[in-house]
């Protein structure tokens, strides 16, 4: 169903008229811009793109695009997207999620999506907080971050999504900052084009519940080294960096999981032979 490549798409062709519900200053506005910019750069027809999500601020993105979208239940977007992509390999499939939806309730699917390596792009807007439920700690929140639900902090160590992705078999791993929409768009173009499961963690500040994250713009920096295809090396770098190292960090060569859906080789009636005595 791919369209003639002659059509030149503009960024606006990928935006819907639905007004976002996000707070003024939310990092996710810039992520929406980056996604539409990347799709225009790639030039895939909007109707050939599906944007799949779960629940949370970041999961609202599908309706703000002019692509096919699915805003499903909390934490299950990767599974829904995998079913779609396996059934419809002709589509470009993006998943938009957040640190709660993606790493807490959806944690198991994250591991298995990396492992399964279906050719799709997982975009996680990490703001280290549950924003839609008004400020609770997520799996990436600092242990001493105070909140009504966990007074004095959780005391729990935040985990490293990028390292988990590498250990689980993701084929492309990158970190970007929402405040740099051009840089993010460039990485997304590469992620979408890279075969297999691509994981892009976007540091996207929650200005309402984590105003301290406004400082991120002064903390981020471009990764000082080239991407590697050695997962162990990439993991070591990520484990030891300051968490604000941006860029493509890992490019793998694993073949994507895509069971062949051929044409029927037998009539349905032929399957009955096995039951006939």
């Amino acid at each position: 169903m791919s369209k003639a490549q002659a059509v030149a798409y503009k960024q606006g062709d990928y935006k819907s008229k639905v007004k976002p519900i996000w707070c003024p200053g939310c990092g996710d506005y810039h992520v929406l811009i980056s996604i539409t910019r990347a799709l225009a750069e790639i030039g895939v027809a909007p109707e050939d793109v599906a944007v799949i999500s779960g629940i949370g601020c970041s999961s609202r993105i599908p309706a703000y695009t002019n692509c096919y979208g699915f805003h499903g239940v909390h934490g299950r977007s990767l599974a829904l997207a995998a079913g779609l992509k396996v059934a419809r390999p002709d589509l470009t499939v993006l998943i938009t999620s957040g640190d709660g939806d993606g790493f807490s309730i959806g944690g198991n699917h994250f591991l298995h999506a990396c492992r399964r390596n279906v050719d799709m792009t997982y975009i996680v807007m990490d703001n280290r907080v549950y924003g839609m439920t008004k400020g609770q700690p997520s799996p990436t929140t600092e242990p001493d971050w105070d909140s009504a639900l966990s007074p004095g902090g959780t005391g729990l160590r935040p985990f490293h999504p990028l390292v988990i992705a590498l250990a689980s078999g993701a084929n492309f791993v990158a970190r970007t900052f929402s405040g740099d929409p051009n840089g993010t768009a460039r990485v997304l173009v590469e992620a979408i084009r890279h075969p297999g499961f691509s994981f892009v963690e976007i540091l996207s500040p929650c200005v309402t519940f984590r105003p301290d994250e406004k400082e991120w713009k002064n903390m981020v920096h471009t990764a000082p080294v080239e991407p590697t295809d050695d997962a162990a090396r990439a993991a070591r770098r990520i484990m030891t960096d300051d968490g604000f190292n941006l860029g493509v960090l890992y490019r793998g060569h694993r073949a994507p999981y895509q069971p062949e859906i051929g044409t029927a080789s037998v009539d349905v009636a032929d399957l009955e032979e096995a039951f006939l005595l």
């Binding site: 109707e47 239940v73 779609l84 059934a87 419809r88 399957l271 039951f275 005595l277």
Partner: protein
């Protein structure tokens, strides 16, 4: 369809029930399966159900079989013949193998202690040293001796059994075939020494042999899915549903479809929702614990109007319950499990063979109404292997009202006369929309407005409630002022009970629901018109079906609920007795 008549040895019976038991690894189930296939070759009807413990190796195993020249809907009341390869762990299934003084019980003198139930029943007993006899045959196995004994006592032709042996063991080589045949010959010779025959009325050898299928309900559900147009499945293993998925995995590939193994049931249902969103009719299969995990997403499929089929092969519950044994106790969660008002379809196959039709019909209905359909099979239907006539071809196939050409001003959830809105499939220009579990307007845009909420709730209710389901909503048989009202796999025992009553001149109706939700209230009232007494029969501890009926419709004045938990399936004689007792 009558009961096993307690005739003297020598007179053929209408049906014969046989149990072959042994500890895990003795091959009781293999012997049972071969006996079933041999009977099928003769043109008999038959059923074989397994009773096994949760152990993979070393537990107890019982092959429970029943044969007749007439179609069989359920297991019998008691067993005519019990062959114990050994008696280890026999106490675990003693309650499931009812014996009478007319039963014949054969054991191995070195097979351990005979359980109390045998002498208590007054059954006739005999000893055959199956293990010792097998040792004298190179490569001989005791289960093949047991098989020879069974065939000998039944009076089935040896040639048909040998044909099965050659087919089943041929790939293992000539030695395996020769050893098995030799062991069977020994078993036949031992049977000839006994005066305990349980002969069955076998169709005449001259009669034209009808086409017979040998199939389990789980295989039939898979076949029905493919006949109905299902081309994508997602799978997470769970007893007793796994065989549906294992059958579908290679079968789907052959018909241009695909099966994906998921990491859990939360994933498997979301995978089928995703594939169906992409335009592929999709199915998953599970059992109670898996259905519980899927429920949130079943609500998503309802709200987003994505057709999917979920086959729930029910087992004992709650929690882990009895994974290997049957119950009908997922009825409540299947109908009422979703939060919010979430109308969807719930169906139940009425026999092993009907798993094919009902799953096929479910695929058709789900696609026609863009709604999820839950098919409530159970361990008995799913894992019983049956000899049946080839299920008829029916025209039901997945046919979705879809937008396949470029459109303008598309509204995914447009309010239409039939309440079903044409669904744009990704790839169609101008059809872009976001499927959403959030309340939405006609265009699919999220909304929390009261008007939008009510309009879409009405739409999702109306499309299901105003659909014309035709005659398949129930099987209705017989006449009279008494009715047995049941559903799903309890239809078999109920049908046999009604037939027995009819033999004695007692008129009774059978009303067996295949479409559980939406309940066809008016049609049910018509089916029960003129009835004074209704016996509601089901395999649940609390009477879930009875309570559901009571909440939904008026029933005749005198209604009795007859139900109990699994795994002891309610027997035809118990239903029969309920009706007779009520009349007197």
């Amino acid at each position: 369809m009558s009961s096993s008549k307690r005739n003297d040895a020598g007179n053929p019976r209408q049906s014969v029930s046989i149990a072959i038991v042994g500890s895990g690894g003795t091959g009781a189930l293999t012997a049972g399966a071969m006996l079933l296939e041999a009977a099928g070759r003769v043109g008999l009807y038959g059923l074989m159900t397994r009773s096994v413990g949760p152990q993979i190796r070393g537990g107890e195993a019982a092959a429970l079989l029943r044969f007749s020249a007439q179609p069989l809907a359920c297991m019998g009341d008691s067993y005519d013949l019990l062959i114990a390869i050994d008696w280890r762990n026999a106490d675990r299934f003693a309650a499931e193998i009812a014996l009478t003084k007319d039963s014949v019980v054969i054991g191995d003198p070195r097979g351990g202690d005979m359980p109390e139930m045998v002498p208590e029943s007054g059954a006739r007993t005999a000893e055959i040293a199956m293990k010792a006899l097998a040792k004298d045959i190179p490569g001989g196995r005791q289960n093949m001796i047991a098989l020879g004994v069974a065939v000998g006592l039944l009076g089935l032709p040896e040639a048909d059994l040998f044909a099965v042996i050659e087919k089943q063991l041929g790939k293992k080589g000539d030695e395996a075939v020769t050893a098995s045949k030799a062991a069977i010959e020994v078993g036949l010779a031992e049977a000839a020494k006994l005066d305990h025959a349980v002969p069955l009325s076998v169709p005449s050898a001259n009669a034209e042999k009808p086409e017979r299928w040998m199939i389990t309900g789980n295989e039939a559900a898979g076949m029905g899915a493919i006949r109905g147009g299902i081309r994508f499945a997602a799978a997470y293993p769970i007893t007793p549903a796994t065989e549906i998925l294992e059958w579908l995995a290679p079968a789907l590939t052959k018909v241009g479809g695909v099966l994906v193994q998921a990491e859990d049931e939360l994933a498997s249902i979301n995978m089928v929702i995703g594939a169906s969103f992409g335009g592929k009719p999709s199915l998953t299969a599970t059992s109670g614990p898996g259905l519980a995990l899927m429920i949130e997403s079943l609500g998503l499929a309802t709200a987003a109007e994505i057709p999917i089929v979920v086959v729930d092969v029910m087992r004992g519950g709650p929690s882990t319950g009895i994974p290997t044994k049957s119950e009908q106790s997922d009825l409540n969660i299947a109908i009422h499990g979703c939060h919010g008002d979430a109308p969807h379809l719930v169906l139940a196959p009425l026999s092993v063979g009907d798993c094919l039709f009902t799953t096929q019909w479910a695929a058709h209905l789900a696609e026609a109404m863009q709604a999820p359909a839950v098919v409530l099979s159970d361990q008995f239907l799913g894992q019983t292997r049956a000899l049946i006539e080839r299920p008829a071809d029916v025209a039901f196939i997945a046919q979705r009202a879809a937008v396949t050409e470029a459109v303008n001003d598309y509204r995914r959830y447009a309010l239409t006369a039939e309440a079903v809105s044409p669904m744009a499939i990704p790839g169609v220009a101008g059809g872009q929309y976001t499927a959403d579990g959030l309340t939405h307007d006609e265009a699919g845009t999220p909304s929390s407005a009261a008007g939008h909420h009510e309009a879409q709730l009405d739409k999702r209710r109306d499309k299901i409630e105003t659909f014309t389901y035709g005659d398949h909503w129930a099987d209705i048989e017989g006449e009279g002022e008494v009715a047995v009202l049941t559903w799903g796999s309890l239809t078999g025992p109920a049908r046999e009970a009604v037939a027995r009553l009819a033999e004695d001149g007692i008129k009774a109706r059978l009303v067996a629901l295949r479409l559980i939700a939406p309940l066809q209230v008016e049609q049910l009232a018509t089916a029960l018109a003129g009835c004074k007494r209704v016996l509601v029969v089901e395999q649940t501890h609390s009477g879930q079906f009875y309570r559901y009926l009571r909440s939904m419709c008026d029933l005749p004045d005198e209604v009795r609920a007859f139900h109990r938990a699994g795994p002891l399936q309610i027997r035809p004689s118990e239903i029969d007795a309920q009706i007779r007792e009520w009349r007197s």
